[in-house]
Symmetry: C2
Subunit: 305 residues, 2 copies
């Protein structure tokens, strides 16, 4: 089972963190970008080739210590169809290296369309008699503004293929309170979203004690984390906002349960751009990413003990 | 300007409708699918080739009478990287034929990531000294759950490149009321979202009288349409839910202003699957789509007179 698998990966590596692979060109060392531009010109193809090489190298540098990657779809879409290939190849390569994959897509739509998204990222496309996996992630993020019938197709994949989802509850950005924290019939909207998890997660508990329906809860809002944790103790939290967005290990402690589980903390720019702080123009980008991933792991593990 | 251009296209064709190009394989006549499977086997490539051929033919059949297309990203993502190519080619072909393009992506994320989405669908990717358009739609749909800093990067493209966006206010699906209609400090959430349009649309009015910041308002909820129209009279409404989802022309009359403008009504399955009702196994799919588009145009134009 997918959350089960995530918990096993986290335990095995004693590391409740995920590396966000959200590469913009400016996050990639210039020697990689230059090689690709030399080969393909100043094109989207060159940008995609650079991103592919960067991602593969980061997975090589991290896979034995970091349990999961979280590719953010936006950065792949920014490179057009070639970027879509990089996304697919990155997911496949992470799987080869034994990593768990969270596709950060934040999709949402009416039922018929949500089915297409759920099949694209978690399920299969049927062509003739064949069922073909498409992006084949282990889990993905989902926005709940459309209510249950936009969530149900994702739950169907969770049930049929042991996948998991993370529903946006409280996001990490500064303006997240604009709607999420306003009072809805006596409680903030983000609490109203969390209250639906009992229904959405029905029948999706795993032996790990955690449910296949998880929650996105920003590291930048420790008080909200505590409230959400009390409403949905069995939901796995995907926690963005550590590092570049300003949250510290102390800020994320509330996201975890007493078993030291229940949350996985993301760092994207912190890990990808670690090479910018060593003064070596990116020659050591793999070592720098690995060193930052270890530092982050130790920082978080010590805060939740 | 992009909403300006939309209004001009609608006036010119006297047709306030948009053709949703959301092809699943089962919506494509089997003679097209069979040809592609013969050539490429039972693969995603075959499915993408069939979708490409279907879309091109539909645009050929509709472009002189229908002002706009609305490709729904999910169905393209369902075919993987090849599907991303079909999306790009479909948008380019629609532009060649003078049609306005609404990319139905319903994206949402924190500011840095929302920028990547906005650039991917409305703007450009910078590679070296070159600014390269990616999907290059005229407008796209956006989910506002993350608040203003997830919207702002899209507004930036609206300002810089005369693009438009449609923000989800009240969606057409049965469970949309689960959150959208619940009371938030005295008014339903969908009203609270609509109330932010004054801020989001600042400086984005066009000579047409309409603002570059539009709203998604489901045809299936005529009462909500009326309420939203009264709050944001200058927002263009993208109205899904006509036809297959059950709404009639009468149901969408409230979405329009007295000038006969202010809304564009989508039909996807109604147009794409019109061939299923003629008993000719899809041989007449172009004529059937055109006939349905004309019927829909006349139905709606007569209802809003």
């Amino acid at each position: 089972m997918s959350v089960q698998k995530l918990v096993e990966c986290i335990r095995q590596k004693n590391n409740p963190t995920v590396a966000g692979l959200d590469a913009r060109l400016e996050y990639i060392p210039s020697f990689i970008v230059s090689q690709c531009v030399e080969r393909y010109g100043e094109t989207l193809e060159a940008a995609a080739a650079a991103m592919q090489q960067f991602n593969i190298s980061l997975i090589d540098a991290l896979h034995d210590i970091v349990p999961a990657i979280k590719p953010q779809a936006a950065y792949y879409e920014l490179l057009g169809p070639k970027g879509a290939e990089v996304l697919k190849n990155t997911i496949d390569y992470a799987h080869e290296k034994g990593m768990y994959v969270i596709a950060d897509i934040k999709r949402n739509d009416i039922g018929a369309t949500a089915s297409a998204y759920a099949e694209a990222y978690l399920g299969c496309t049927k062509v003739g008699d064949k069922e073909l996996p498409v992006y084949n992630a282990d889990s993905c993020t989902v926005n709940a503004y459309l209510g249950t019938d936009g969530i149900e197709p994702f739950l169907k994949e969770c049930r049929a293929r042991e996948k998991a989802i993370y529903i946006l509850v409280k996001t990490s950005n500064p303006s997240s309170g604009e709607f999420q924290n306003r009072d809805m019939e006596g409680k903030p909207l983000f609490v109203r979203v969390a209250e639906q998890f009992a229904k959405w997660g029905e029948g999706l508990d795993t032996p790990s004690g955690y449910n296949q329906v998880g929650a996105v809860v920003g590291a930048t809002y420790p008080e909200e984390q505590k409230i959400i944790r009390s409403i949905i103790p069995k939901a796995y939290f995907l926690v963005p906002g550590y590092g570049a967005q300003g949250a510290t290990a102390k800020d994320i402690a509330n996201a975890f349960n007493d078993d030291g589980l229940g949350a996985i903390v993301n760092s994207s720019r912190g890990i990808m751009c670690a090479w910018k702080k060593t003064g070596k123009d990116g020659a050591d980008f793999m070592e720098a990413a690995r060193a930052e991933a270890i530092r982050m792991r130790d920082d978080i593990v010590s805060a939740i003990r």
